[in-house]
């Protein structure tokens, strides 16, 4: 199965590149987007390359992320105390990638919980998230060999309204006092209401989001926070599957590209300050290459 999908994507990339050549004159291809196509192809190739390296047995080392260890500890502690774990997958629908990343973390949390026999409660703000999360958690319990322990009623819909959802969650936290609160997904203003309420009941709190405006509140009020890209990397770390770790290496390669472009560009810009004739080269670099 994986082989098939890899080749299919490579085919697409090739197809796109081939089409780019032929379509120039016909106007089928949007020429303004060529630099973007370049970046996209670079990224796809980088990720695919490292995934195949990882699959064929190459060792991939990754640095530690403190927040991830904390998740398992949190579930463990909840079991010891005989209390539940609250998992909040954000307030957006499955059309948001952060929600999907949150659900992949949920599948790992559910697996751990199934092993420890802990109770994970997942109130959600969107019906489609509820549907998807139920599938995920059910499979996770199956994978952990505890299909009987799965309880569909613990994953339920509250309301689509942001603040209605928050009102429900804060009330519930104060009444049920979960031992651990895990927030993984797309958050807006509710981040601090949740984190402060969680803090007032003494729960261990781990958060992960890619909303830059909300990160400060999670950083200030939670025990551990996965910042932006770390949050997306979480599922790869937790799965420990070589393919997923390979994708991280691919991401790093793209960061090296960004790093290099900025560094090179800045040097070129500095040189232009002294040798004005370089302006043309600089304009080409920022204007054409970077779109």
């Amino acid at each position: 199965m994986p082989c098939f999908s890899l080749t299919s994507l490579l085919l697409v990339a090739e197809e796109a590149a081939a089409a780019a050549e032929t379509a120039e004159s016909t106007g089928l291809l949007n020429m303004d987007r060529l630099p973007l196509l370049g970046v996209a192809v670079f990224f796809v190739l980088a990720v695919v390359f490292w995934i195949s390296v990882a699959r064929s047995g190459g060792q991939i080392k990754v640095r530690e992320i403190a927040g991830l260890k904390a998740i398992e500890e949190a579930v463990g502690r909840a079991t010891e105390m005989g209390r539940s774990v609250l998992f909040v997958p954000g307030i957006q629908d499955v059309s948001e990638i952060q929600t999907i990343a949150g659900i992949t973390v949920l599948s790992k949390v559910a697996k751990t919980a199934a092993e420890y026999d802990a109770k994970v409660e997942v109130p959600v703000a969107r019906t489609l998230v509820m549907v998807t999360a139920r599938e995920t958690v059910q499979e996770a319990f199956l994978a952990a060999g505890r299909p009987d322990a799965y309880n569909e009623d613990l994953i339920y819909y509250v309301t689509d309204e942001q603040f209605g959802y928050v009102a429900y969650l804060s009330g519930m936290m104060v009444r049920e006092e979960p031992a651990a609160c895990i927030y993984m997904g797309c958050f807006y203003a509710e981040s601090l209401i949740l984190a402060e309420t969680g803090n007032s009941i003494g729960a261990i709190q781990v958060a992960g989001t890619a909303m830059p405006a909300q990160l400060p509140f999670f950083v200030a009020a939670c025990d551990y926070t996965l910042i932006g890209e770390e949050f997306y990397a979480a599922s790869a770390y937790l799965s420990e599957s070589p393919a997923e770790l390979g994708s991280l290496k691919g991401q790093d390669l793209a960061k090296v590209l960004a790093f290099g472009l900025i560094g090179l560009g800045a040097l070129l810009a500095t040189a232009t300050q002294f040798v004005p004739s370089l302006q043309g080269a600089f304009d080409f670099f920022t204007g054409t290459l970077l779109g």
């Binding site: 970046v39 499955v94 405006a213 509140f217 960061k255 560094g263 560009g265 970077l290």
Partner: protein, 326 residues
Amino acid sequence: MNHATRRGNATFGVLLVLIGVAIAILNAVAFHPGAGTQWTKRTEHVHTLEDGSEVRWTEHEAVSVREGREMAALEENAAPLFSRTAGLWGAAILTLCIFSFLLGDNPLYKAAEAIVVGASAAYWMVIGFWETIVPNLFAGLFPDWTRANFLPKLSAEASVDLLLLIPLALSVLLLLRLAPKIGWISRWPTAFIIGVFCGLRFISSLEADFLSQIGPTIKPLVVMGEDGFDLESSFSNIVLVLGTMACLVYFFFSVEHKGAVGKVARSGIWMLMITFGAAFGYTVMGRIALLAGRFEFLFDDWLWLIDPKDAHPAQAFLQTIAPMLT
């Protein structure tokens, strides 16, 4: 928290609301007679239909108390409306119920929470029905029927859009979730949707947040102004360019944060912390403004203690409390 303190908290919260309502009633009777009253201007609509029957209704338009009284004095059709006055009092009391949670969980907060959950879930469902299903699904599949029943303004040329059978089919598959045996089939529509958005976001994130963030970061590290070396701009640019690069290093996953990399990553964290501190400071502003907005609602619209919008009779707050103090 033990049971006794919890009950203590609950009492606090309930007391806050009860005292607030008692003061409001006293205020509306003694200090600002009629506080919270809502006025409307009325317009009668009468239409005779083709079959000769008559349809009539009254349209209400909100006006401030001051405007309403002026209109009434000119014998225009304006008067207080009980249902809206009651609504405003209800809204104010619900506001207090929510605030009471700050003192501790209590029955009044629980009631307000139950109302907001039930009402808001239904609210979005109604919006979804009238603003998505009717104009996007019904109007595309059954234009004539939709025009006759819900959307008379729908263009007469609107034709049937058979492509809409796709979301309809997906919806049916999704609803099969309710059938226990073949519930798994609901994975198809969700998988389709997830695939669509993965495709969309894959590209848009690379464009909007990758490429477009790199371009503006490219700046000269040494800036030569008209009178030679420009220290201020150079310093700013160095912070910007090197700061961005250091933060990028922090996000590397495949390199341990040790040695030189560790040092750079550490300075990346410093940048991130400054960023978070600034965002925190800025957001505080917005949050306080929101709270000020709610307090103005209570003091101005409900209690008439202040009158910044020239909307109703009001005495300055100090004049109001002076008789209580003496």
